[in-house]
Symmetry: C2
Subunit: 377 residues, 2 copies
């Protein structure tokens, strides 16, 4: 949970309450926390009484009651398979409210809703691109959406006013609203979210029967590729079946590449490493991967910023990292990014400081003058 410190400004929000949150898991409770912190009245509803009570306890809002004023905005934050039903019921129950949902698949929900015969002019789907590996209101964080894209998927019948209400919610929570159609959204998340999840799981699944000694050789590459393989199976199965058509199209491309790779490897295994076409087939895939990876924008949005990296060996005892950072502060150089890596069985860590290229030389000189051992990348 977030402990609001003195740095939190209580700016005026555009979002008008009461807001009814249906579903008080990680996403719902995080929305509730952020709105409540800014004085917007939030009511909570969850199929699980204990989940609802937990969300109240972390400060996400108050449980709904029979005498509540009707909501101005309803946010459905439930698993994808129950979302359309909850949205339809809310549109019916609150004839003046804007209703949105935050499910990670969009076209199927839109399609289900069209079968319900409810007033869809007040419905605008959305999907905040935020999350974490932990679940439930206990992991809620009012800063969860800060700086993240929040996809908004109006339909052809969505009212302009309702679209504005959902955009305001995204902006109020610190996110960047991005408008696309439901289909564009589903195609995009198949590529940037569902594809990496499945390839990470496919890689990690091979390790179930791996010899222990082999795993002892694991390096950072394997750790990075398999990090998100720790995700929740039930939640992900529900997300993936809801976007099955786009996901299978992407995965068929993977299977074609994999089949081509396997036939290059077969040639090399049977006719030796210089077998006709074997090297070119493999290098072609790695090379396509180079091209694809280079298209991913940097963390800061836009193209990747180029930083210089300066790696410093830091003794593994209290205060050493503090001394390093306070000396970098004295030198007056801003650290753009930072990574810490420990060497196993060594009482030393490698602290990699990313700085703007123009100042790396100064940083190295100044750190060495202060007795630090520096490795220049």
């Amino acid at each position: 949970m977030t402990e609001a410190g003195p740095a939190a400004p209580a700016a005026q929000l555009a979002t008008r309450g009461p807001v009814l949150l249906i579903g008080t898991g990680l996403i719902g409770a995080s929305i509730g926390l952020a709105l409540t912190a800014h004085g917007v009245p939030v009511r909570l509803r969850d199929a699980s009484p204990s989940a609802q009570a937990l969300a109240r306890d972390v400060g996400a809002g108050e449980p709904e009651g029979p005498d509540d004023e009707p909501p101005h905005l309803v946010v459905v934050a439930a698993p994808p398979d129950v979302t359309a039903g909850l949205v339809g019921a809310a549109l019916h129950a609150y004839p003046h409210a804007t209703v949105t949902d935050v499910a990670s698949v969009k076209a199927r929900i839109q399609h289900e809703l069209e079968g319900f015969g409810v007033d869809l002019t007040r419905y605008v789907g959305s999907h905040p691109m935020a999350g974490r590996e932990r679940h439930g209101a206990a992991a809620a964080d009012s800063d969860l959406f800060v700086g993240r894209p929040w996809v908004i998927t109006p339909s052809a019948v969505s009212r302009t006013e309702s679209i504005r209400v959902v955009r305001d919610l995204a902006v109020d929570l610190g996110a960047s609203p991005v408008e696309m159609t439901a289909t564009e959204h589903d195609e995009a998340v198949a590529l940037v979210s569902h594809l990496p999840q499945l390839l990470s799981s496919l890689a990690a699944a091979r390790l179930v029967t791996a010899p222990e000694r082999a795993l002892g050789l694991a390096g950072q590459g394997l750790r990075d590729v398999t990090r998100i393989a720790a995700s929740d199976p039930t939640l992900w199965a529900s997300i993936l079946v809801g976007n099955a058509d786009h996901v299978r199209r992407t995965l068929r491309g993977v299977r074609d590449d994999l089949d081509a790779l396997l036939s290059s490897l077969d040639r090399a295994a049977e006719d030796g490493p210089l077998a006709l076409g074997a090297l070119a087939g493999i290098a072609g895939l790695i090379s396509a991967g180079n091209d694809g990876a280079s298209r991913i924008p940097g963390k800061h949005g836009g193209t990747r910023r180029r930083y210089s990296e300066v790696t410093v060996l830091v003794p593994d005892r209290p205060g050493e990292l503090g001394r390093l950072f306070s000396e970098v502060g004295e030198i007056g150089i801003n650290i753009e990014d930072f990574q810490m890596e420990h060497s196993p069985r060594q009482k030393v860590g490698m602290a990699t400081l990313s700085v703007l290229p123009g100042v790396a030389g100064t940083l190295v000189t100044e750190l060495e003058e202060r007795g630090w051992r520096v490795v220049v990348e």
Copy 2:
């Protein structure tokens, strides 16, 4: 290159020179740098005169000459496809030297050598599990091997004395020697190194034709999975054809899992998300991925240490991170790991400090007293 600071101890090494390095790229030059720094005489040979001169310039040793004393140890650090030829020639030219290589495939090289009719009792293959995304002597680093596993693959005929010489080299460079057979090694790297490389490339290759707007939604999951997709195609093609048999066996397992996944997705796409078996098939794969990922030992070797994470919002200006670390130092708590994440379009970073679980509460309280905004995970 490493700038040896006052912290570098010049301990006595077990490795006896002269050492002849054949191949002066990243690995060869890094070995040369570390040995030279400790006073072991190193001679350099590279098919490329400019690569050899660069290695000399960074301090990796002296170019070999006609009057050199014969080497006590020869290290072949060349691409896998030329390694056996160079090892064979060295065994023939220096009848008293131990010869090792550092290629990332082992059984094929052993097999090729057996066809040469040279004295293989003095040959011991090896493979330091270290590297970086940059290549060549300019990226050399005498600390490259510190704390990394260094696999040593003696054959049935390798002399005990030669095995000891290669172990000493690994230990002298700060690595942890791990003995296995060449086949065990090749099977292990197919899983922990070649598999993640290829799945990362397969994922990234799908992005070549992705719409720009889709890529704008990319998050940390996609970035982690595709990080190593930026690797060198030529080098990797040569590594993979050299281990084609083990790699294809691992990839066939991936293809079986992928085919099962595709048939679950086909069912969901055609008969709806509740189609018989669709959810179970997908959840089964994600769940196997959970199990596999949990088997990867932590960075520190052994099982993963459990840390508590404390995330602090840090204003993006010089000195703030320094102030944070120096205050953590004052509090007297050691930081076991650290990650910095910037929010796009926000002048704030999220600094995640990993600390031993028993001290997280104290850290949070003390930081909040000092006015930091803290998010507890």
